[in-house]
Subunit: 149 residues, 2 copies
DNA sequence: TTTAAAATGAAAATGATTTTCATTTTCGAG
DNA sequence: CTCGAAAATGAAAATCATTTTCATTTTAAA
């Protein structure tokens, strides 16, 4: 897999943090790198464990604090699942949504949803003025699909 | 508002519980009634407070235990929101989804989403075999829309 | 009726997250 | 560079939601 997008995004994240008055630290960078290089959504303890490979003295509290900053800046978001809503992912941009593999947990982003006609229909039916929507899809990723066949 | 659907559903819920080997108690019925008669999604403490109007000695633990049963039977589901995922609602049926008012919290169910074409497009783009989806809409209900105008 | 299984409330336990606090680190001003 | 104020850090304690334990009560079916 090409690592360029990761490097680019990591730099973007670090810039965004700095612009917002946060200071640049090894811990923050390690945590950001863990989140950005994962194919799955990770929970705070998973991030903690992965980041400690790089920063042995890291505290779990720092993970929580860094997640707060990243979430505040809209760089990450939670993945809501039946099992819980603790895992985080790089946030979707614009009209992206994500697709979660129900077998391995891998997440894939996709573009474009034209839900406008559905929303018009709903407004007609209910009188609600729709402002926002969450669409989350679960399915089998190509690898798990192949493995289960 | 017509109370017939509420009575019907309450009876359905109590039957479902009984069929599953759970016993019929005043607390369970009070909790079910609170959930079914609310226009909003409620969290365990809100349910507790409302149900204590009817059953003064009720314990919060009983609310949690009853919610587990109702969730296990698929009668309620959690409402996932930015602020948290603690509130519950009567579960949607079949292809229903719900619409949450971002001002007053009122929830309205609606039918019918034809997302099949979107899913086909996504399968083509990503190779994922889609099994399941969550669609949640946020907007202003007619009353809040009128109030804000 | 009787009785075994289920339900209950109170208190304790658990698990996740946040706060506090003393210490260390970052970074901009000089 | 070097200083110092602001921010970041880790450890321990605090908080908050939820679950478990346990002794007692209630339900429902024989």
């Amino acid at each position: 897999m090409n690592t360029l997008p990761l490097e680019t995004t990591l730099t973007d994240w670090l810039n965004r943090l700095q612009e917002s008055g946060y200071r640049s630290t090894d811990r923050c960078e390690a945590i950001a790198r863990v989140i950005l290089s994962s194919q799955r959504a990770l929970d705070p303890v998973e991030i903690f464990d992965a980041a400690r490979a790089e920063i042995p003295g890291l505290g779990l509290v720092t993970v929580y604090r860094t997640l707060q900053k990243l979430e505040e800046l809209g760089l990450i978001q939670r993945l809501h699942q039946e099992e819980g809503c603790r895992r985080v992912l790089p946030a979707v941009k614009g009209h992206q949504h994500f697709l979660v593999c129900s077998s391995c947990g891998m997440v894939r982003y996709f573009e474009g949803d034209n839900l406008a006609p559905l929303f018009e229909e709903i407004t007609r039916q209910t009188g609600f003025a729709i402002q926002n929507h969450w669409l989350q899809l679960f399915g089998l990723c190509p690898a798990c699909r192949a493995a289960s066949a």
